[in-house]
């Protein structure tokens, strides 16, 4: 009743090929857009700084991994390290070119990550599945080693950490550093994430994305039909690492503010992987669901228990969050491998026939 596309006729190919062909979806997106723009004017700094900004950044990282694992079928455990490559290259770039707008540098730093990603993607031409996961694991450990052992990367800082300097842009607005306002950083991150997500959406539903999915579903058949595994797989690695790199650079510059190499450890890789698994392999909206869930759950639990009047220790909440995520991952892997995104899709299909389930 509410969500039904009957009566909406497409009279041109452009209308038929739109990202959101159904009017209700467009209305929904417009509302989400308005809410996203309005949030900073109502929300507290804590909500923006500690929830929204990292949620958006991690969503982008999850999209990055989803391209590789969900769309192209190449399992990767190196996301954290690729994020690190983005962060360290952005740090080096802004040290060398302090006057260039930091947003441009963030976008460029993804290219370094893409290059490294392609390099570590080369073995994917010969090995698959778990074996490939092991080589990406090697990338994770090797890159982390580089972050610790190459002092040039962190400008010979005595603590071995990178610290985000203050950078201004767009007529003297403070974009990074401790004095930057939560609202500015949120809008910058939102803009980058929206633009990049739209670009990725179009890649995914076009020729390149279809090649990835063919490779994922059956690589021999894809090859016989004229898809070149070399370009398809490596382009998936490149795009995926680019997104991870941009997310990593934003994670440091707009969220953490300073980082030790341990910020890009295997834990981060797993965190992103869980987001993708829970959210839904091969779905962009699923990446957002997964990120919101994994990032939001501990925060909601921490606010929720005292609100219910339960006095629970901080570490118990931490443990509960971990257990819930672990149980849900097993649950989803068994019953719904396509994750929250699939549930969302089922919900939409139910909604189409509501209130007449047999119509």
């Amino acid at each position: 009743m509410l969500y039904r596309e009957s009566g909406q006729y497409k009279t041109s190919y452009i209308a038929d090929q739109a990202i959101f062909p159904i009017r209700e979806d467009r209305i929904g997106m417009a509302i989400i857009g308005l809410v996203a723009l309005a949030i900073p004017f109502f929300a507290s700094d804590f909500f923006l700084n500690a929830i929204m900004t990292p949620f958006l950044i991690l969503s982008l990282a999850a999209i990055g991994l989803n391209i590789l694992t969900g769309y192209a079928g190449q399992l990767s455990l190196g996301t954290g390290a690729f994020m690190g490559v983005g962060a360290y290259s952005c740090y080096k770039l802004t040290s060398i070119f302090p006057d260039v707008n930091i947003i441009i540098l963030v976008m460029i730093s993804g290219l370094f990550s893409a290059g490294i990603g392609v390099m570590f993607g080369l073995p994917s031409l010969r090995i698959k599945g778990l074996y490939l996961a092991v080589t990406t694991l090697a990338a994770q450990f090797f890159l982390e080693w580089c972050f610790i052992r190459i002092p040039w990367l962190y400008n010979y800082n005595a603590s071995g950490a990178i610290e985000v300097p203050e950078r201004r842009g767009f007529g003297d607005i403070i974009l990074t550093g401790p004095s930057a306002s939560a609202m500015t950083q949120y809008f910058v991150v939102l803009a980058i994430v929206v633009v990049v997500t739209l670009a990725v959406k179009n890649i995914v539903r076009g020729r390149i994305g279809r090649q990835w999915m063919m490779i994922r579903d059956m690589d021999i058949a894809a090859e016989l039909m004229g898809v070149r595994p070399l370009t398809a797989k490596l382009s998936a690695f490149a795009v995926s690492s680019y997104l991870s790199g941009v997310a990593g650079a934003m994670f440091i510059f707009f969220y953490l503010g300073a980082a030790e190499p341990s910020a890009f450890s295997i834990t981060l890789s797993f965190q992103i992987l869980f987001m993708v698994i829970l959210g839904g392999l091969g779905s962009l909206v699923g990446s957002f669901f997964g990120a919101a869930f994994i990032w939001g759950l501990p925060i909601v639990l921490r606010a929720g228990f005292p609100a219910l009047g339960l006095n629970v220790g901080a570490e118990v909440i931490f443990h509960i969050a971990q257990m819930v995520v672990g149980a849900l991952i097993i649950f989803f892997l068994i019953t719904e491998p396509h994750g929250l995104a699939r549930l969302w899709q089922i919900g939409k299909e139910k909604l189409r026939v509501w209130p007449f389930p047999y119509a």
């Binding site: 929904g28 507290s44 804590f46 909500f47 929830i51 980082a259 910020a263 909601v300």
Partner: protein, 439 residues
């Protein structure tokens, strides 16, 4: 796409719930304690967390807070993870914490630049950035009772004494085994300087964070290199592993000296009977004989208001937590005196910390006589350089193995100044100190 709207709505709900929480009662002050009772560093973190919260709870129970102002304390689990640490910081800021104790060098580095903007003092008790003791550059950061560089100089001074004078160090080999993170790297510049000056050789054995529990290769190298002394900068699961490995290669334990953070009872116990003779730096007394500890037992632990096992009260790291809490409560008291208010703000707390003078009489008055060497934080010196001593493991407990002695301040101070300058330069534009020195 409608779930998008739903999630956004749920967020908006969570937001209103979050906004409704930080309500402060009139006669209380809020302090968030970032702690870690989970993860690879929990072995050390649990005792610290217990010590901090027990002492503050005891003040609430015994005295009804500080000058009638109750302390609202809340723990925030960081797991020693920088991501979670920043989240805790944001929450602490939202709820108006008086002071932030990061309990991790990584998190300290992250919050240092934010402190002056958000007007929240950072109390990193004997950890974090050594250069932060320069109050002129870092008005919002405090690291009493001393810095890592003081500690490193103290170790060398002690080794020199054992050898019969610092001039006898020439040609000696001193091994340095450290956690390969900001924490373990912090003292390296000073040690390198001292090595040059006194002509000893420093051999580094970095232990990567995820290899903490597997140090076989490092200690194999130690066995090959045969350093005359071993110095350790370890934390969490790294310490017991190192002590165990050292006993395994039969390294002479009386020549193995850890920093104060490598001084947990559990750390030394891991080495069994052979760990006897293992030494660490220390700046607080071990044991629960002082009157304040009796009050903690009576009002908190025995009353069932604590997570502490009674046997842990008075252990080294527990006492370290108590010391951290005591520094906070004393700073609050001083801030109340200086400002004339009872319910102070985080800006008043900064004044309290900057005037943190704890002499023997005061220690006596709060039931902790001789607990630490007298402390004197000033506007210029935020570490209030005090004295340390060497603890020795006698197989069952820590015993005092040396007198209180001072670090090599003459060697450390110039380095601290230049490090602060360097920090300023690499983080330009660093704000100049605008806070007056309120004495």
């Amino acid at each position: 796409m409608r779930l998008h709207t739903l999630t956004a709505g749920a967020f908006a709900l969570a937001l209103t719930a979050g906004a409704a929480l930080p309500v402060q009662a009139e006669d209380s002050v809020y302090i968030q304690l970032p702690t870690y009772r989970t993860g690879p560093f929990a072995g050390s973190g649990i005792h610290i967390a217990n010590g901090m919260s027990d002492y503050l709870k005891m003040l609430n129970e015994r005295d009804g807070g500080i000058n009638g102002v109750k302390l609202t304390i809340e723990e925030c689990e960081t797991g020693y993870d920088t991501q979670k640490g920043v989240e805790c910081y944001e929450q602490a800021k939202a709820k108006g914490t008086l002071v932030f104790n990061p309990w991790s060098t990584g998190i300290t580095l992250q919050v240092i630049p934010k402190a002056s903007v958000d007007k929240i003092p950072v109390l990193s008790m004997a950890y974090g950035l050594s250069a932060a003791s320069d109050g002129e550059t870092f008005p919002w950061v405090f690291n009493p009772p001393m810095t890592y560089w003081d500690g490193a100089s103290g170790v060398i001074k002690y080794i020199g004494e054992q050898e019969g004078g610092l001039d006898k160090l020439a040609g000696k080999k001193i091994g340095y085994i450290f956690l390969d993170a900001g924490y373990g790297r912090e003292p390296i510049p000073l040690l390198e300087n001292l090595a040059k000056e006194y002509g000893f050789e420093m051999v580094q054995y970095p232990v990567p964070g995820k290899e903490m529990q597997n140090q076989a290769s490092q200690w194999l190298n130690v066995r090959r290199d045969k350093p005359d002394y071993m110095v350790m900068w370890g934390w969490g699961a790294m310490n017991p592993t190192a002590v165990k490995e050292a006993t395994k290669i039969r390294y002479p334990m009386d020549k193995f000296i850890g920093v104060w953070w490598a001084g947990g009872e559990d750390d030394a116990r891991a080495g069994g009977a052979e760990a006897k003779g293992y030494k660490t730096l220390n700046f607080n007394l071990v044991g629960a004989d002082l009157p304040a500890f009796e009050d903690i037992r009576k009002h908190v632990v025995d009353a069932g208001k604590s997570q502490t096992a009674p046997a842990n009260v008075g252990e080294n790291l527990y006492n370290r937590g108590v010391l951290n809490a005591m520094l906070m409560s004393e700073a609050i008291r001083i801030a109340q005196e200086k400002t004339g208010k009872t319910v102070i703000t985080s800006e008043d707390m900064r004044i309290g910390l900057e005037n943190l003078v704890i002499d023997e009489a005061r220690l006596e008055a709060i039931g902790l006589p001789g607990f630490i060497a007298p402390l004197n934080v000033t506007c210029a010196n935020h570490s209030g350089t005090t004295k340390m001593y060497i603890s020795e493991w006698d197989g069952e407990k820590w015993v005092k193995a040396s007198d209180w002695f001072e670090p090599m301040t003459d060697k450390v101070a110039p380095l601290l100044v230049s490090a602060a300058e360097e920090y300023k330069a690499s983080n330009a534009p660093w704000p100049a100190r605008s806070e007056p020195c309120a004495n």
